[in-house]
């Protein structure tokens, strides 16, 4: 049966899982880690780095390291979030040809889906290495507030990575699935998601027939574990400056070490009451000496440093309940998602506000991927009892006179669906109407997202309000929105089909997919070359180790000198083959080296 992986494509970390039998399991990467940083970099030598290795040089190579691409995916160039990212990001963000967003790394620019595809490709490789077979299908999760463009961009990222994203599901929904919430439940659940870069609180209504309704979702896209790390860094830097008069933030290497150490200390303090931060040779002075940083951080100190951040999450939870028009007592369960929820102070705050112990039996940084894996398996097994029904994540409607937004399809309506409303002209003798199709929850049209527009002409001249125009919205199972407008008097009609766009054309997506495949092929070929190279180098080292002994035994004879000369030539040729990166040539030389090694060993054993 075809395998489907579930991928939690996070802002700071990603995770991949699969169903093994009836149990979803997270697949660790080659380093043994169950999560992989969503970081992509290009080194000075042009090498692409993804994951942990990219994160280790995120500060020393800041201009060419992309992090938190999720904050940009599917957004337009002129959106406020993009403008904010331009000001705060260390990498260069430029405008794309379709008013979309591109990122400049070294001498190339990449679309945001392309960057995300590199992370997805890494997760795909992790899964394929584990399973020992190709993986083609995936379920990928997104935040509940993602609009259609952002969801489509995420799907495009999957396509570029060689994955058929058969479903996009909401992160809080996936988390609920992993905790076993399913078809026969009727509960109201709060999902508290504090990750590495973002905080999201979602209120879900789990109803009959597997419908997970997101009643409200809100959060802060710039509040997460990295902010907690930053507080620790500030504390360390200030202390060091007071002691030595040196600002460690001015040195990238020191800052990189500080960041890694701060994150490590923060994680350790979830289990112990204090931890030592030891950074020898953190900075060199101008007097030919290097200074060390050594401090002990206690949990109360960390909690004091970050208590305002935790309080902010509670304030946002209050807003979410207000939006859902619910009282905190109506929340029946609380689910914790994201590594930061391991922090005792966070758990205490959540318990204190919601008045109940949160569910934390599943690893909070794995739970979303596990839920995605469960949904993926249900889809391929066609388990109707497990399949979630797609719902529209946002309301759909049109703009009306006065720049108001008239909703036709409410948020969380299951698809397929169709709704009709009758409108009229807004001024006398109006012979044409412009239908602007919008998506969002605001009553003001300019605060919602424009999906498309068209014009219906040929209306009869009449005083305003006398001509009736029927507008119908349809959404099919593939999420394609069609909008029809008809003059009810003369039957004149016009329509458009609105598809979400990530800002990339199909040709662009195809090119990116090809490039990604080339990279995949290159990576696989590189692995064969590396294996041959390693074998060759081991044999060379062994032969060179035997040279002195061979020279001693047979070096004085003509045949001995010939043999030694030939052996040296073989070694030189192998080195040349390695430099040329020709795998087949290296393998040929490996055969010759093996023969030489066997001969040398024989001579030495007889000598």
């Amino acid at each position: 049966m075809e395998r489907v992986i579930g991928i939690d494509l996070g802002t700071t970390n990603s995770c991949v899982a699969i169903l093994e039998g009836d149990t979803p399991v997270v697949i660790p990467n080659r380093g043994g880690y169950k999560t992989t940083p969503s970081v992509v970099a290009v080194t000075e030598a042009g090498k692409r780095l993804v994951g942990h290795i990219a994160k280790r040089q995120a500060i020393t190579n800041a201009e060419n390291t992309v992090y938190a691409a999720k904050r940009l995916i599917g957004r337009k160039w002129n959106s406020p979030q993009v403008k904010n990212a331009i000001m705060t990001s260390s990498y260069t963000i430029v405008e794309g040809p379709h008013a979309d967003v591109r990122i400049k790394l070294r001498d190339k620019t990449y679309s945001v889906p392309e960057i995300s595809s590199m992370v997805l490709q890494e997760m795909k490789i992790v899964a394929e290495d584990y399973l020992g077979e190709p993986v083609k299908k995936a379920v990928v999760t997104v935040p509940a507030y993602f609009n259609d463009n952002q969801r489509q961009a995420t799907k495009d990222a999957g396509a570029i990575a060689g994955l058929d994203v058969i479903r996009i599901i909401n992160e809080p929904t996936a988390a609920s699935l992993a905790y076993g919430y399913g078809k026969d439940m009727d509960r109201t659940v709060a999902v508290y998601d504090l990750g590495g870069g973002t905080f999201d609180i979602s209120i879900l209504e789990i109803g009959a027939h597997g419908v997970f309704k997101v009643i409200s979702t809100t959060g802060d896209t710039f509040l997460g574990g990295e902010d907690f790390d930053a507080r620790i860094i500030d504390w360390l830097v200030t202390g060091f400056q007071d002691e030595h008069g040196i600002d460690l933030r001015q040195d990238r290497m020191a800052l990189q070490r500080l960041r890694d150490a701060a994150e490590k200390a923060k994680c350790e303090l979830s289990g112990v009451r204090e931890t030592e931060i030891n950074l020898p040779f953190i900075i060199s002075t101008g007097r030919n000496e290097a200074l060390h940083l050594q401090r002990t951080l206690a949990r109360p100190t960390l909690e004091k440093l970050t208590e305002d951040l935790v309080e902010r999450t509670v304030e946002i939870c209050k807003q979410a309940l207000t939006d859902a028009k619910l009282d905190v007592s109506e929340i029946e369960d609380v689910i914790l998602v994201g590594g930061m929820t391991r922090m005792p102070a966070v758990q205490t705050a959540v318990t204190g506000y919601f008045g109940r112990e949160p569910n934390k039996s599943v690893h909070p940084d794995e739970v979303v991927a596990l839920g995605a894996a469960i949904q993926g398996a249900a889809l391929v097994q066609d388990r109707q009892d497990m399949i979630l029904l797609d719902v529209t994540p946002h309301a759909l409607g049109i703009m009306t006179f006065g720049s108001y937004f008239e909703e036709l399809i409410p948020q969380n309506t299951t698809v397929p669906t169709s709704r009709t409303k009758v409108f009229t002209t807004s001024r006398d003798d109006q012979t044409a109407v412009k239908i602007l199709v919008m998506q969002g929850e605001s009553k003001r049209a300019d605060e919602n997202e424009l999906l498309g527009e068209f014009i219906l002409t040929g209306l009869r001249r009449a005083p305003k309000g006398h001509v009736e125009i029927e507008v119908t919205f349809e959404i099919n199972t593939d999420g394609i929105v069609s909008v029809h407008a008809k003059d009810m008097e003369n039957g004149q009609a016009q329509s458009i089909q609105v598809t979400a766009t990530s800002g990339l054309t199909q040709d662009e997506i195809k090119n990116m997919m090809t490039n990604a495949q080339d990279y995949l092929v290159e990576r696989r070929v590189d692995e064969h070359f590396e294996a041959a190279k390693q074998e060759a180098e081991t044999l060379i080292a062994e032969i060179e180790r035997l040279f002195p002994e061979i020279e001693r035994v047979v070096g004085s004879a003509d045949f001995g000198r010939d043999a030694i000369a030939k052996a040296r030539t073989t070694v030189e040729r192998t080195r040349t083959a390695i430099n040329s990166k020709d795998t087949s040539l290296v393998k040929e030389q490996v055969d010759q080296l093996s023969r030489t090694q066997r001969m040398f060993k024989g001579v030495v054993s007889r000598g």
């Binding site: 040779f281 953190i282 900075i283 060199s284 390693q534 060179e544 002195p548 000369a565």
Partner: protein, 326 residues
Amino acid sequence: MSNKDRRGINSRPSSAPPGPSPIEANWDDETVPGLDLDDPLNEFDRVTAIPALPSEQYVKSVMETVEDSRVPAPGTPPPRPPLPPSAKVPSLAADEYFSLDSEPPPSPRNADSTAPYAAILPHNAPTARPPEAPRAARIPAVPPRSLSLTGLELADLDNSDGPQATPPARPEASRLDPRDPVLELSLDEPSPRAETKEALAGENAIGNMKDRYAMGDFSGALLIAEGIIEHSPDDLEAPRYAQSCRDVLTQMYSARLGSLDQVVAVAVPSDQIRWLTLDHRAGFLLSLIDGGITVDQILDISGMPRLDALRIMYQLLDQRVISLGS
């Protein structure tokens, strides 16, 4: 100098500047008293001079006195840039291999390879001597002593073009003996900046750069070249020499480290690290070691020029602060 060394010097191409230089008769001290030098059958009639000085000092003294044959004669074409390392290694016949007889001059820097770590004294703490870590089993990536090369012989000069200021061909790393004292000099930390400024202070900065290159002191030549580039950005030769030096040094350090796919491990207990004599860059590279990272990955994310990272990694390995394994 022993007869062995003399034979070695006679049978190898010289790394002195190109062009014949006049050799005074009083250098020729190999003659046997009483022999008739005009006798064509006189087997002791050798043209080559055998100086009594060690090779490095000899080279320096020759450079000070001999006419600079690299100054191009009028009408000669401009000097060629340093040659890149040849992609193809020529296959040599057995008689083209050099003698295996000579031993290298002793390296002053290898005097005591088992010396304990240099201790740095914190404010009032006593000197600490960490326990000697076992030497890491390093697989040599360069051939053992098949060539007895000294600083004179490292650069295979292209003398066939006559007295041109042609940069010497870049020596191939595979022919270089990493234990050679001049290479040891090259592989150590480059001279402090003060030395570079002194070298630049005079009018013969380019000459100094070329001299060091010819002697195989690539670190020194690189330092001077970078200084020339800083002071005279339009200079054409210095960037070429600088790049050539970087390439050679990179090859040398890479050869010393062996396969870059080896996993790096810290060989010193963590509580002893602060007693080492390191700088913040070495400290940064040490901080990257997590038990799974390879040499190549460290070079990728070192945040410093690759050559600098290679040099530091080599020094850490040489000081047994780190070990390499598969």
